[in-house]
Symmetry: D2
């Protein structure tokens, strides 16, 4: 396994797509060296976009997190999230009617800001709403509701109607602290999909759509082509295979999901090969 | 689809295995005619055994339910449950150590009665117990715990240890009332198994083991052979395919999971064929 | 289930994406009325694009089929296939080295025409080629090779190398005549993926990428936006769910995979809802 | 990982169940030391039973292989195979009609010997046989037929009838030589099951039924109980998890599927724990 310097690799590209969790930050906070490398890249005029499977908040809040950590190189406009893909779907598809959401009320804000009529699934079912008013259901966050009550409600709702169901972040888990994982909303959605027999619509990496959206954003701001873009991620099955399929080069960093000991074994057994491997973006 | 009279079919067998939910009772209570047919069968000396995927309580409480409904033909000794299979596994395999359980405290009683040292998963993790004291984990019931907290705890526990995990009822759902389903503990276990990559050990129909256990019980009391036994169930994928594989005849009744409109379609698309089809056991 | 006239619906859109099999043709040949409706639509200046999961030949041959049936409204330039998506991936990603293919030699022609160095998997393995010369493997067609020999060879090759594997058509079956299906190369790829543990890269509907490619093609020729495009297909799980996710309207026709008797049931159980339902495009 | 001497462990049990492939033999022939340890165990009066997922021949031929290698301690009567389980199912369930088989003609011999009317699937379909004469279909072997022709025939046959389908060996692969695997009939059956939507009936480890059959055989010959039996196997997901669930102790040997380097990792990630680990049965 040939480990290279990220700084050196990055210099060969014009635009860099960064995954967030496991690359820029982890459960303990910002990964050391992140502030410096982002400032270096911005200084030499590289375009930076963050591609994240996150549907618990919009770009503004995603950016705010970094600003609060004294990182000023990641303004709101450089974030592309799976939640934004899901939002785009709803704006396009849903002309009228209510979108029920599973998640915190805060997680629905960026949908509401886009003019979508959203309502907590609990409220939909408890009030005098008719199921016919519903235009869709979206899984946004694993927090903000009682799992047992709400998931049972969702299951029974889906048995009685045929509305489209959107999974705005298809990740199965996320790190809750250095030693522990939390079950993500993507896993809850999988369970309901398996039980109900319905087909859900998923957004986020490894789906090519989010890469395309980010690429279109990048080209609207800078004159680049596919060969000028580099994806940096910590997960073979989302970041790296997505970049492969979309057709851009990729770096696997070993600061997140893929630990140094297993990287070679996992690349060999899955056949998902990053273009480069780096210890971290600080190297 | 040729519908026959259950009474007529049953007369040809010496021992009858009944599924419980969807055959003898449903979410509204005892299915009309159950008391009478059971008394009739007992009267003409048929042996009755109830084979149920239930791990939320032991045989005594399963029997009590029917006694409270004025049905006296189903004593404790005629119940065979998936929970009893799981209990047998734990008694055989676990010589020492604590079995953590996911479920109500009441659901663990019949394990404790068998001499197994059980402890609520919450208590195991909150106290000063060392993970090394754990000899296994068992999913018993979907009630009695906060799903979010406990399922996340279970996931993280399994990432740190290699104890066997037992699913004492592999059903995905159960009817909570006439119009609604509840997510069963089997679905929660499936979700954790998928996320963790572990292999869980499942008990209950369609596994042949529970049929074998019931058959051994039946032969210990009455001189019968395989051809003398009839399985009566409402679910193709548990009751009927299990009976087929075990090698006994079966009746599909249309009072539960398999509704009359879909029975023919489901038999055709799955290829799971009951020996007979009856509207209900009261016919 | 509300059945509408296709002619009337089509008049509301500027560009129409047609699936091929089950919509324009079936195992018996061209579906009656196809020639007339295509001429009508062309006459009133609608833009027509055919979106097909086919990797057994390139656009030229796809077009030729229709020309041989006296249909002159479908020139080579209006075909977009899953094979073309896979080809684009290989051109982008594979700078040097040989791409081994599974399929007929004819099925590899349109890859060779694009400058890709392709070689029959059998030849790769039989000659003195070193595995290191391989840059990838692509599943193109279910014909042109002995399944047993070749699939075993592919399995063992993948165990010894980590090249990317492309499935250029992810369909599971295709109709071989009016009463029978043939196992498609997508099913063979699934079997090898399951056994080998590798992650393959799939192209074609329902993936949004092919819709996007077709949309980009359409906008390069005509001034349209998303709302001007209609997808017409016979399969809920590819044509219709793909169109939903991409964000365009869709028509389900009942001349192919989804037979009239089951359409309503399937829409209800899967939750995949076309915008309209028509008996055929000839209505 | 604590490695122990097999000879020492075996001395504590009265009956020993051996897996065949990867334990007694491999693709190169008999594993060194097998003859000696079997003679030693027989000499000190241990009961030996071979439990193998094999449906390509009956017990007589399984035994003959060892006799031809000068191993006289494994008579026909000590073999229990998944094929024998499938045969028992067919004898029990199928009162009349023809069982179509997928495999070599030789692989069907032991079914024919048991009085089952078997016919090569090819012959069934080519002659003037009516589908109504068919009572079932069994997958026996990956050899003896053209995969493409026959698997397509099987798929279309299953779409037109609802006969039970039996998979007499559910293994996915078997070693064809020291470096290569062959796709087993279990994988072909999986592919057809996935495409057709039917539910197949599988026999063999890890299913508890074959362990029970072997245990009943053992107790009919020797006065033993569960605690006296040891299962020896090379595969966690069949031999070891099956023994765990059945309730007997197990030894994982490292001469087959589970290579020394990965044993610890696999036990940790799957949670399937053998009672003991030995390098080989010759230790």
């Amino acid at each position: 396994m040939y480990i290279q310097s990220f700084k050196k690799i990055a210099s060969k590209y014009k635009t860099i797509f960064f995954d967030s969790f496991g690359v820029l930050k982890n459960a303990s906070g910002i990964i050391p060296g992140t502030k410096e490398i982002l400032e270096y890249l911005t200084g030499i005029n590289k375009q930076i976009i963050v591609l994240t499977n996150d549907s618990s908040r919009g770009a503004k809040k995603l950016s705010l997190y970094y600003q609060n950590q004294q990182i000023d190189t990641l303004p709101e406009s450089c974030f592309v999230s799976s939640g934004m893909m899901a939002r785009q779907f709803m704006v396009n598809r849903v002309k009228r009617g209510i979108i029920a959401y599973v998640g915190t009320d805060a997680s629905a804000e960026y949908l509401r800001d886009a003019g979508i009529v959203v309502m907590n699934i609990k409220e939909v079912l408890s009030r005098d709403h008719h199921i016919e008013d519903l235009a869709g259901l979206v899984f946004l966050d694993d927090e903000g509701f009682d799992w047992k009550d709400t998931l049972n409600d969702v299951l029974n709702l889906l048995r009685k109607t045929s509305i489209p169901v959107v999974v705005a972040n298809s990740d199965h888990t996320y790190p809750s602290d250095e030693d522990n994982l939390s079950i993500a909303v993507g896993s809850l959605a999988n369970m309901i999909e398996n039980i109900s027999g319905k087909k859900f619509i998923r957004f986020g990496k490894p789906d090519v759509q989010i890469f395309r959206y980010a690429f279109d954003l990048a080209t609207s701001r800078k004159n680049i082509k596919m060969g000028d873009v580099l994806m940096v991620g910590d997960t073979l099955t989302t970041d790296i295979i997505g970049a492969m399929k979309f057709g851009i080069d990729s770096v696997l960093v070993l600061t997140g999901n893929t630990i140094p000991d297993q990287a070679e074994y996992l690349i060999k057994t899955t056949g998902i090969s990053p273009t480069y491997i780096c210890e971290s973006i600080a190297t």
